[in-house]
Symmetry: C2
Subunit: 361 residues, 2 copies
Amino acid sequence: MASETVRRIETTATNVHKTILKQNKPSLRFPMRSLSNVKYDPKRGHFEMRGRHKVRTLTVSTVKTFAQTLRMMALSKELVEHEDIATKREAYYVSKNWEEARFLEQPESDAVMDDVEALFEVNREQLGFVPEEKGGEVSGKLVIVDRDSETKKPLRIDCTKFGSGAYSIPISVEHLKFETDARFILVIETAGMFQRLVKHKYWKSANCVLVSMGGVPTRACRRFIRRLADARQIPVYVFVDGDPYGISNIYRTLKVGSGNAAHLNEYFCVPQARYLGITPQDIVDYKLPTHPLKDVDVKRATDAIKNDPFFQHHKEWVRAVEQLLKMGVRAEQQALAKWGLNYVIEKYLPEKLAHPQRFLP
Amino acid sequence: MASETVRRIETTATNVHKTILKQNKPSLRFPMRSLSNVKYDPKRGHFEMRGRHKVRTLTVSTVKTFAQTLRMMALSKELVEHEDIATKREAYYVSKNWEEARFLEQPESDAVMDDVEALFEVNREQLGFVPEEKGGEVSGKLVIVDRDSETKKPLRIDCTKFGSGAYSIPISVEHLKFETDARFILVIETAGMFQRLVKHKYWKSANCVLVSMGGVPTRACRRFIRRLADARQIPVYVFVDGDPYGISNIYRTLKVGSGNAAHLNEYFCVPQARYLGITPQDIVDYKLPTHPLKDVDVKRATDAIKNDPFFQHHKEWVRAVEQLLKMGVRAEQQALAKWGLNYVIEKYLPEKLAHPQRFLP
């Protein structure tokens, strides 16, 4: 994998070099990164690019960006070869030593990094670039196999042995391997609900892996769930608040990705994800305490069924979102506590998990 | 500890009950929770309350809040006795079954919980109430001793064995024990810098424990550092961005607490914390790339030296903040990457750690 990335960087750089030696103008070809270049393919399960490209040719006006792109490629090659990493911000600061090619502001260097990522059609992590922020905790029936960075020996991390704590997902997860016989992965929106399920060892009775997203999942968290689900062929059930934010922002992003980073969804989406709850029908069936939908909720829900290719493709989702809009209310996953703090463990989850075929797609 | 909390709840409730039986009006006495009731005692090392109280007597107009306070005390007693936990939001939803005493909005229930917390002069976690959000990762020379919630047997968690991952601090840390011979705890602002130090096993060469705050530390993260530092008598060095936010919001909050939760600072502050960097002088000495101070930075820095009892008490801090204001710039911890991605490991940290007595207080 690493050597493949290095090979592709070298090929591209060699082509540029040869073109220059022939006294021709070198160029680089990037996929367009915009919403208009996106389609939803339910078979592949994520937003995909429609295939439009832009070409950057070396001219007087592009010379600085062109040089910066080559410098960024060189930095990536160095990172991959030395098994090191750099955050977007670090890469920006490294450029301060590139003299004329240095970036003045971080958004410039981020854009060039996005270009390089799209150019090689890999995700940033494979180029040695990692996001600033972490996120995602794991507990339950899973052994993660990492390796010692010095000795290169495997390190087996048993996620049943963390007590009230948890395993914190690293910024880059490409190198991790997994051992598990869990029946499913339960992905949870809030840290509070995760802590309850950990505290009562829910993963043991349900034979599952618990993952806490803590809101909208980070790239590392999405990639971790995807790699684990792929590697072990286990279903992914998502337990979020029953509101437009939980449905449209958190669940949709986890499952199919997002519009403005479509060249990455192939790596970061989790097409096997299914929506366990809270559903609009759960609010009725479980007589949950609710809050009225705010204007922003109504707008988000309306946008989802009007403009979002994912929801539009699934009639069940259109019906569910319409039901929520008609009811005019939302319910948080903690609302189950009305019936007792551990009602979620004793009643709600077992009842739902008895019929996974009923989960929203 | 748990039985002590239950005993105090029972004593208070019994007094209320006895007063009612005598046909008198019962009352509860709470410390005032406001900035005007705060002082800084450098010997004790945290903001403290000045001792003003408010008394809530049972009358027609206070009857609902009075009943809610007693209900909240009963919920706490139940949680502690069953070793269970409830988030603030869950406690709010539990009240939906309290009929006339139910809360209409969560801020009401949060306020009553804060009252109960202040009433017993313990932190919320000791009452079984836990915050919504998690935060804080640990890696390095530390064994955390938790216990299995079923078997009650000790669980030893070795923080040198996580590879690129880390230990995620649970929402409540009161029950944890620690084994370590580390020389110091290095507390880091950004997840990116933490990941670099973990990746290169900095904790091994420096013989330390690494803790990532990921911005302003959560209650659990602050309490974890405090308990670890107290239990093992190890110094705490804080490595944050060289800007008013890193100094005044992150470092100050970690070390002495905050004004609007002064009744908690006794538990959540880390008085032994010292400021490793980035200092204003580091910006000069290490020729770091900078950004100009924004208006909000200038306001924050000016507030710190004009109004904050902690900074006012320490002349070194007043001088440092004045120097930053005069320079008119700020520098992030990643700015060290200008001199190479691992300059921080090879040069900056060893040079600073050679003279801990020079760290800002």
